[in-house]
């Protein structure tokens, strides 16, 4: 193998598994250390810079970082660090941060940007452009900002106060807001001569089963999940029947069933076509639903709505089983058993969401491609009409808040370049700082003596009380003591092992001391062969091998990044400081930086 190019910012970035997996590349270990130090406000600001909604995300994030977390890999029964819920700790314990928000220039730069939709994507664009002197004009059909964070995520998961606080940090920068305003024509919008238009309208249409027998007759008691959740959020709906069927296996289904339990649903069932394990909902969402006495029936395909005296009385389902072909492709094959009838008063349909761009005219230069989705560049978020940009669920279909934020940041970079007459493809490399952590022979700036404890569970409110009131938050959050203990589980993966070929005397001390056998000195070979010769099994090809140049004995140093604990023992043991532990801080380039 060729020597590893550690100057490439992506090499060490990838080693910080959580940060790499986070769409917004939040410097996770950095804020976790600040929580350990009790510096909650600083921890909050590190988050705010990257992900804009730490209080919201600390409760609701889809947390792609956690399955990626190294801690979950270092032993067979280990669980990842509770990265997401630690973010909430920063938000819960911070002081007033208004002083720390970026100043907004009184004198504007003369560029006006339209933001259509007031969800996390648009708000992120505003957050990045307002401090640069742009004028941002936001349109949303809802009465307040936040998009689906407000209309969809139920209050028992996300208190309104937390959401409004973080939405207002941005709106209070002086965003010109037109709430209650549905944009029905893109053409009219373009006629207003904005310098750029950002479309952050989400994926606002819930799927239906229009052709299922009985659908029409049952209409009074059949509700589209996201519409129903919005009407609950805006307090137009306050109750539901005692027996409820929720169709679907995603997170929307989980929110629907748990909301139904709070609005009078006593026998609420989730019925899903796929096997339990294949359900789209996050494992913790499923756990929370089950904990609220909601059974999940898998492998049931809806057949018909059953009507009696013109009124819905239940649904019939066909039982199926999942069969996988050689390529792992799944098909649901009927088992031939009797159809299953389930009685109900109401049905909530949470079977998917779609985009809807009926308000964008076909002839104005915005090209649409497959599935009626706009053609959007995945790096610049520019559409085929150069001054129109898309981001969030509107760009590539329903995702989540953190993706909307990440895309908002990138769209803001593009808009800023575009408005300055520069090529939107001409993006600056990420900011990287790398700093030795050495303080003494075996003292590091970071605390390498990590905790062996199992992952701490976030305490929950008493179930009976929580089920009585839609607005009681179920999760109570970690207290400071629990947060400290959980935070001490973090391995500090941003403390990178950096190897200096010319200093190494090949004494093997690092090889011998490494608790997880990461390091090997061996003859060089191609990667696949090299992986066979390492000290410990090396079968996680997702993780890189760090390879030195040729050393005096004609061997190379090979470090498998996979199970490195970032404990620093290699560097403590090295007599010549050929290893050093260096903190690597990777910052995504934001609009106006550099």
């Amino acid at each position: 193998m060729k020597p590893t190019d550690i100057k490439d910012p992506e090499y060490f970035h990838k080693v910080v598994d959580c940060q790499y997996a986070c769409p917004a590349h939040t410097p996770v270990p950095e804020y976790i250390r600040l929580i350990v130090a009790g510096r909650y406000t600083d921890a909050y600001m590190v988050n705010w810079e990257s992900n804009v909604f730490p209080g919201v995300l600390g409760r609701t994030c889809d947390r792609p970082c956690e399955p990626a977390c190294r801690r979950g890999r270092v032993a067979n029964d280990e669980e990842p660090v509770a990265i997401c819920r630690l973010k909430r700790v920063a938000a819960d314990n911070k002081d007033d941060i208004t002083e720390r928000l970026p100043p907004i220039p009184k004198e504007k730069n003369g560029k006006r940007i339209a933001l259509i939709g007031g969800g996390p994507a648009s708000l992120t664009v505003a957050r990045d452009l307002m401090p640069l002197g742009y004028e941002c004009v936001l349109y949303d059909d809802q009465e307040r900002g936040g998009g689906m964070m407000r209309s969809q995520i139920p209050a028992f998961r996300l208190p309104e106060k937390v959401l409004s606080e973080e939405v207002n940090y941005i709106l209070d920068m002086g965003v010109e807001c037109h709430f209650g305003t549905w944009i029905s024509s893109m053409k009219e919008m373009l006629d207003k001569n904005f310098d750029a238009v950002f479309v952050g309208t989400g994926a606002p249409r819930g799927r239906d089963l229009p052709d299922l027998p009985g659908r029409k007759e049952a209409d009074d008691n059949v509700h589209i999940g996201i519409e129903w959740l919005a009407s609950v959020a805006f307090e137009h709906t306050a109750k539901i029947g005692k027996k409820v069927i929720v169709l679907g296996g995603g997170n929307t289904a989980m929110d629907c069933c748990r909301t139904a339990r709070r609005l009078g649903g006593e026998e609420v069932r989730v019925v899903v076509r796929s096997p339990f394990a294949d359900m789209k909902a996050s494992p913790w969402e499923k756990d929370d639903a089950i904990a609220e006495d909601i059974p999940i029936l898998d492998n049931h395909v809806p057949q018909s709505f059953e009507i009696e005296n013109g009124k819905l009385k239940g649904m019939t389902f066909e039982k199926v089983e999942a069969v996988y072909d050689e390529n792992g492709k799944r098909s649901l094959v009927p088992t031939g058993e009797e159809p299953v009838f389930i009685e109900c008063d109401d049905v909530l349909m949470a079977i998917g969401q779609e985009n809807s761009f009926t308000w964008i005219e076909q002839d104005i230069g915005i090209e649409f491609g497959k599935w009626d989705m706009p053609e959007v560049n995945p790096v610049t978020f520019q559409s085929s009409l150069p001054h129109v940009f898309f981001g969030g669920d509107a760009a590539f279909g329903p995702e989540n808040i953190i993706t909307a934020v990440a895309q908002g940041h990138q769209a803001a970079v593009s808009i800023d370049l575009f408005c300055n007459g520069e090529d939107v493809k001409n993006r600056l490399a990420p900011g990287v700082t790398i700093m030795s952590q050495k303080m003494g022979v075996h003292e590091w700036v970071y605390d390498n003596d990590i905790s062996d404890d199992d992952r701490y569970a976030v305490p929950h409110a008493d179930k009976a009380t929580a089920l009585k009131n839609m607005k009681i938050e179920v999760e109570l959050g970690f207290d400071q003591d629990q947060a400290y203990k959980e935070a001490m589980r973090c391995l500090n993966c941003d403390a990178q092992t950096v190897f200096a070929d010319e200093k190494c005397i090949e004494c093997d001390a690092c090889v011998d001391v490494c608790p997880t056998d990461c390091i090997t000195f061996t003859d060089n070979a191609e990667e696949a062969d090299l992986r066979q010769t390492l000290s410990a099994p090396s079968n996680n090809n997702e993780q890189d091998l760090y390879v030195s140049g040729t050393l005096p004995t004609q061997r190379v140093m090979v470090k498998d990044e996979d199970i490195c604990l970032h404990c620093g023992l290699c560097a403590e043991r090295c007599p010549t400081a050929a290893w050093d532990m260096k903190k690597f801080l990777y910052e995504v380039t934001k609009a106006g930086r550099g």
Binding site: V74, I505, D508, A536, N539, L565, R573, P575, T576
Partner: protein, 350 residues
């Protein structure tokens, strides 16, 4: 030294025949200087014992005094150990071995512990052919007492202080050969590929197995001008050949050109395959071994690898005709037959 020892290990570590991973053979975290050759030797012992599926409780670790003699604390935590006074490890090993012949004895000593204060003990344990592995972790100095020249330092070699050693060195390999040791090898802490199979062969050998392991002291004797420094040893090492240790349950599979390799079956049924570099070298010929040593020395080389082995020897128990049973397994009457028996013996000698 380091203070922390994380409890995580690689989750997919291989398991040996008795269900242990390498972790089960580890010791406490080392307090030696970073980069000390002795730590690599500890790691080699761990590797060797793991691969041989040795039950840790069957091992006794014995040592004297010195940085080297501290190392039994850093491997085989679950084994027995005795840290004796300076240079007296052989006596303690002899006593232990006489009392319980079923254990595996690993003696760890230093060049000071052996070639200075312990020289008298060393020569006798060698000539008695006590069944043990005797390793000298040879750094040419007294590391623990801050680097004074030891009796294995070469003439003209300079330690950190910069003063040339003026006394003729003792080559412990030569001494061991001279005294009739039945397994003699030399290796280098920085070459585990060679050291691990040598340790395994030594542990399988029924008799006195001596390995002189050159092991640089990074702090006091790893400077230019020292003949025990990493760079110097790498440049001057000359190997008798590469050694493969083949456990009893495996078949010899490596194929070498005829005449270049020798297979030696050991007492416990395992085998040693020596791939020789010098065609005329025969590790079962004591004179040839001495000659090879002298030849290397003539041009400043350090001969490493298996130097001599006599696989069919009588160890001290066999020489003395002691009981097959470890003393702890004998019942009180057999172990201590009483006054009448003693009187009978005395009578027979009158």
């Amino acid at each position: 030294m380091s203070y922390i020892n994380p409890s995580f290990r690689h989750p997919n570590l291989p398991v040996n025949d008795i269900g242990c991973t390498k972790t089960d053979y580890e010791g406490a975290i080392s307090t030696l200087c970073a980069g000390c050759g002795h730590d690599s030797i500890s790691a080699a012992v761990v590797q060797a014992c793991f691969e041989m599926s040795i039950e840790p409780h069957r091992v006794a670790k014995l040592s004297g005094i010195g940085c080297s003699s501290k190392t039994p604390a850093y491997f085989l935590n679950q084994s027995h150990g005795f840290n004796s006074v300076h240079g007296r490890m052989p006596s303690v090993a002899t006593g232990a071995n006489m009392a319980n012949r079923d254990m595996i004895y690993i003696g760890v000593s230093g060049d000071g512990d052996t070639a200075s204060i312990g020289m008298g003990q060393f020569v006798h344990v060698a000539r008695r052919n006590l069944n043990m592995l005797y390793m000298v972790e040879n750094n040419g100095c007294y590391g623990l007492t801050k680097g004074q020249d030891s009796a294995t330092a070469d003439i003209g070699s300079k330690a950190k202080g910069g003063v040339e050693n003026v006394y003729a060195p003792i080559d412990l390999v030569n001494v061991a050969l001279e005294l009739g040791a039945t397994f003699v090898a030399r290796s280098f802490s920085g070459d585990k590929k060679q050291l691990v199979p040598l340790i395994q062969a030594a542990l399988s050998h029924q008799g006195f197995a001596f390995i002189d392991v050159v092991s640089p002291c990074v702090t006091f004797n790893n400077n230019p001008g020292s003949t025990k420094a990493y760079d110097y040893v790498r440049e001057h090492a000359e190997i008798t050949g590469s050694v493969d240790f083949v456990p009893k349950k495996d078949e010899i599979t490596a194929d070498y050109e005829p005449g270049t390799s020798t297979n030696i079956t050991l007492h416990d049924g395992s085998a040693l395959q020596l791939h020789k570099l010098a065609k005329d070298f025969d590790p079962q010929d004591r004179r040839a071994a001495t000659r090879a040593l002298e030849n290397a020395k003539d041009h400043g080389g350090i001969l490493t690898g298996l130097i001599y082995i006599d696989p069919d020897t009588k160890d001290l128990h066999n020489i003395l005709g002691t009981t097959e049973t470890p003393l702890r397994d004998l019942d009180q009457d057999t172990l201590c037959p009483g006054n009448d028996a003693l009187a009978a013996i005395n009578e027979s000698l009158r």
